[in-house]
Symmetry: C2
Subunit: 244 residues, 2 copies
């Protein structure tokens, strides 16, 4: 019995060690990318609420400034009168707030600005981590798209085992299953639609461009996984020549 208990203890230790070693940069990248997505969503939601609230005070600004980030900056930077002068906006319908009623609005705006800064910090971190962990993928696909592919696959290893046609359609699962189930048109690209080479192509050539990019990413990921050399610049150049 003593032996059995001993065996159990050793087994547990081995398992714990295996868990400890299973933490890889994959998980850092996936967590950072998920948090960036979440922050972006939150910034959007809170910005909409801020616009609604601030519009009681100065309705003109909401209509004039469409970009959330700029809107938040302006709200924090100056008071209503200075903004009216700067943007040449009349304010005929705004309500004159007491200081105590404008304060909570401003502090919401400053929280949103903080989250914007946080999101940028995480993006920097993501890019750095991608560039040291999978430099070929990061360069060829860009850190953002590369991280999305990695998240969808689950790890660099699993991404490296995928065929290029699978990589081409990562992020288009919904459309793919709609195609399989209902016979609708098959998707031509998933996350790769956001790639600059696919974006630059004419709409009718985008499928072709996505396939070409996926082919090169397929190579890049395998090289990254097996710790090969940096070949992304060459691959990228080949693509650029082909889709000039």
């Amino acid at each position: 019995m003593a032996k059995l208990a001993d065996l159990r203890k050793k087994n547990l230790e081995l398992a714990k060690k295996a868990v400890r070693q299973s933490v890889s940069p994959d998980l850092f990248i996936i967590n950072a990318a998920n948090n960036i997505d979440e922050l972006q969503k939150i910034i959007n939601t809170l910005s909409k609420r801020l616009r609604e609230w601030y519009s009681l005070y100065f309705p003109g600004l909401d209509k004039k400034i469409a970009d959330h980030e700029v809107f938040v900056k302006l709200v924090l930077k100056e008071d209503k009168k200075a903004l009216q002068k700067e943007l040449k906006l009349a304010d005929e319908m705004g309500f004159d707030f007491e200081k105590k009623d404008i304060e909570p609005i401003l502090s919401m705006a400053s929280i949103i600005a903080d989250m914007g800064r946080e999101s940028k910090l995480l993006e920097d971190y993501l890019e750095k981590t991608m560039k040291s962990y999978c430099p070929n993928l990061a360069t060829l696909a860009g850190a953002g798209i590369g991280a999305k592919l990695l998240c969808e696959a689950g790890s660099l290893k699993r991404l490296a085992m995928m065929r290029s046609s699978t990589i081409q359609l990562l992020g288009a699962e919904k459309a793919l299953f709609r195609h399989i189930k209902t016979g609708a048109k098959p998707p031509k690209y998933g996350y790769l639609l956001q790639h600059q080479l696919v974006q630059r192509a004419k709409p009718k050539d985008r499928g072709k461009a996505a396939r070409a990019v996926a082919d090169k990413i397929f190579l890049a990921v395998r090289v990254d996984y097996f710790k090969g050399k940096f070949i992304a610049d060459k691959l990228l150049q080949e693509l650029e020549v082909r889709f000039k």
Copy 2:
């Protein structure tokens, strides 16, 4: 024609003035309450993500500390070793992070802490505004529940026009329509379930308690709307005597 243009201009001015005057503390309260709800949701979501990420580093803490606020505080306060000592936790499965990989986690934690502070600031503001705008409602129902009733009604005026049976069921719209449509049991309370007197009652008496509280809130809101005296302490006392 000149006259018509003149008339149009005057009309516009009048309309704009009316819009300007339509801003009332109702809108401050509704905006503040909605933002508090939103922040609470966000804090929850981000805390869950933080736990997931931090657990790569120190998995024991997530299991040990259930409260999000405490969790965030501990993460920010001390490093892994100090926490292990303080909480007497073994760490057998955590991964040893480099500084650069722990930094983004800590900055996420500090954003969550900031949002917690912001939410408290807004709660203070809400309470102050409620107490000056509708002191009877704020005292009788509490600022939180009072604000929810006000949001659901749309304004103090509309809340003051409601019957007490409607007030009793505000916040239970889903259950009410299920009752009307499918003949399921009718709800006995909405937001009022969270009222301390209803909470304190035995489960079988909660419907009765909610009705009594709603009756008093009905009076309180009307007094507030017509700028009457402060009677909430008397009303509250009557309720306390009845539900001792």
